[in-house]
Symmetry: C2
Subunit: 238 residues, 2 copies
């Protein structure tokens, strides 16, 4: 297969590496479109969400498929401009210079027609053991779920880091606890894995914690809301 990868960000770089040797890969500059192979089977636009439409507009009509890699941008943005189009969405966070086990990364595919779908599935399956279809609505749900699971989680770790530092501790001290917390949810559901004072509805502890956070009104608000949400989740199950 002949593939254009349009863009130079982390996703584009990792896709290029993952496909290296499995397809005939062209790295295309998203501004100049230099190096674009107009005979490619698949052209993957891997740029920031806001730039996708503009890049798609500049790509000339081609016989191959034009796809993007975004979780939150609908496929429709490519339709009209490109007859055969699709989405090639890897559910992973990519960092520069960090090797990943691509076989484990889930890929979610959407396509304008069954032939394009088959081609995009084939390409994803050449990288990953974990490929399935997801339409634009489902992909949006996946994206929200990953915002909760990763972006928000990371922010809570930042809050934790801040509180630790204020007391002369380091975030490194809490890493074994984080590792074990993550290990648990690969064995049982997060609902079953929940521990802590909010789960036990131990208001003596949660109220004391909340008071101690008065120097950080935003953290206090987050503490109170998440404590209430945890308590509510288990109320219906007692």
């Amino acid at each position: 297969m002949k593939i254009n990868i349009i863009g130079n960000g982390n996703v584009a770089t990792h896709l290029g590496k993952a496909l290296w040797g499995k397809a005939d890969v062209n790295n295309v500059n998203s501004r100049t479109l230099e190096n674009l192979n107009v005979d490619a089977d698949i052209s993957i636009i891997s740029v920031s969400d806001n730039a996708i439409e503009e890049v798609a507009d500049r790509i000339p009509p081609m016989p191959g498929i034009v796809a993007h890699t975004s979780g939150s941008v609908p496929m429709d943005i490519l339709k009209g401009k490109h007859e055969r189009c699709g989405v090639f969405y890897p559910l992973q966070t990519f960092s520069k210079d960090v090797e990943l086990d691509y076989a484990k990364i889930p890929f979610f595919i959407e396509a304008s027609d069954s032939l394009s779908e088959k081609k995009l599935l084939e390409l994803a399956e050449s990288i990953s053991c974990n490929v399935r279809l997801a339409n634009s609505e489902e992909r949006k749900a996946l994206h929200i779920a990953s915002v909760f699971a990763c972006n928000f989680t990371n922010h809570l770790w930042h809050i934790s880091d801040t509180l630790l530092k204020e007391n002369g501790f380091t975030f490194g001290m809490i890493l074994p606890l984080l590792e074990e917390t993550l290990r648990k949810v690969s064995a049982v559901s997060p609902f079953e894995a929940q521990t802590g004072p909010a789960r036990r509805n131990d208001t003596k502890v949660t109220e004391a914690h909340s008071r101690l956070l008065s120097a950080h009104p935003q953290y206090q608000e987050i503490y109170n809301l998440l404590t209430t949400s945890i308590s509510n989740s288990y109320k219906c199950h007692q």
Copy 2:
């Protein structure tokens, strides 16, 4: 060293296993105090937070140290009842039947006097490579930090799990992403590791997400608050 471990919960069980062969360990029933060695160097009360005081009251005065293992209970609760007392707090979440690498678990020690401190440090260092002192105030901060980092994180994973299931996906699909998110914060600070639409201040995406959560008002409120908190964190740094 002769050690009483009073209690049968997960912490008590794991401490017993970790100390096995390194000290002369007695497993004591917290209700009957059967098997209590009154000549022990250290008696560790490892029961639920609300039960610590009551168990401490029933233990007869002894020449050895009486300590508890709780993050949120002050040492003072043992004072008056027991001349030599302390805290032996492992910062980890313990599950039944899950083996842990005890050497990595951070232990935080507090004691009523320097001799007891020395003994408790010695005991912790026989298990772990990561032992330090923390007074009751510092331990409370550690506990709040771990609530944010683990209990709240786990709840966000539960929300993520719920949203995934509603759309025909499974939580397992997001695990590679969680693993990579955790790996990142062992390399760079959570503040630097932050990604996602809130960090980019991409209000088009965050407002669309928020609208899509209208069927779950509690999740929507959490989404909005954490999005605002992330945006605020980076506003001052732009």
